[in-house]
């Protein structure tokens, strides 16, 4: 990818337009990914808040569990000491509440970090796209002048 800007001058208008299109496609894909990452960060934050909320509860606390959006069944809190974390590839680990909160916090930080990296990437692609478009305009304008 680094060699792209080196050869840009030697490309014809049609090829430049193609490169521009490709860049645009990439940028759109990345923006979609960034959105997904943001949603993921939100989910982890919400999960962390739920565990924090559990900290203030006592064992045997009655509650209503949602089976569907409008159907609830009654139950009681069986354990307020540990949570089961899904850590990927089908593995689950039992942790205490602090561990669960810590896990969610670390995940939020990780996802935010990746989002930041991705937005840098988007920015660099956008400058590349602007470069390509400027060069394209220059070339097309030059041709029109000659003709």
């Amino acid at each position: 990818m680094a060699g792209e800007s080196v050869g840009l001058d030697s490309l014809g208008p049609q090829e430049l337009a193609e490169v521009g299109k490709q860049l645009e496609g990439e940028i759109n894909g990345f923006i979609q990914n960034a959105l997904t990452l943001q949603q993921t960060a939100g989910k982890f934050a919400a999960a962390g808040q739920s565990v924090e909320y559990l900290q203030g509860q006592k064992k045997g606390q009655p509650l209503l569990l949602p089976l569907t959006e409008s159907l609830y069944v009654s139950g009681t809190l069986e354990s307020v000491e540990s949570v089961l974390l899904e850590i990927g590839t089908g593995y689950f680990v039992e942790r205490d509440l602090e561990g669960g909160i810590d896990y969610c916090r670390r995940k939020v930080l990780l996802v935010r970090d990746k989002t930041e990296q991705l937005s840098q990437l988007i920015k660099s692609r956008q400058t590349a796209l602007a470069q390509v478009n400027a060069l394209l305009e220059q070339k097309v304008g030059g041709q029109a002048g000659q003709a």
Partner: protein, 131 residues
């Protein structure tokens, strides 16, 4: 004229071979992407398993059921999986290198043949003009 036809056919065959290589390169890329993803996820799992250490039960989702696993065994399994992924990635790397070499070779061959064809066309035209 026969010579020109033969050249054209050869050129087409070369182009087909080149395309086949390109397809292989694409396949290689897809496989690599998948393995990289798996590597990422497994590394995350391994880190989490290390954090929880010996205490804290480990379960694995087998079908719809969560089955209790030995913590040490789970860690060993994930590690084995990571090793397998690393070896697969290394294999794909060497495969890609070989494919790329083949590709540049084919590319050089093709451009040489195009030159030959152009030369043949020029000679033909010359022959027609002089005749």
């Amino acid at each position: 004229m026969d010579r020109a036809n033969a050249l054209q056919r050869e050129l087409r065959e070369e182009a087909d071979a080149f395309q086949a290589i390109q397809q292989d390169v694409n396949k290689n890329h897809n496989a690599r992407q998948q393995f990289l993803q798996q590597q990422n996820e497994n590394e995350m799992v391994f880190k989490e398993l290390e954090i929880s250490g010996e205490e804290g039960a480990v379960y694995k989702l087998i079908g719809p059921a969560l089955v209790r696993q030995d913590a040490l065994e789970a860690r060993a399994n994930v590690k084995k999986r990571l090793e397998f992924i690393a070896s697969e990635l290394a294999r794909l790397d060497s495969q890609l290198k070989a494919l790329e070499e083949k590709q540049t070779r084919k590319h050089n061959q093709a451009s040489m043949m195009i030159k030959l064809q152009q030369e043949a066309q020029r000679l033909q035209q010359q022959a027609v003009q002089t005749a």
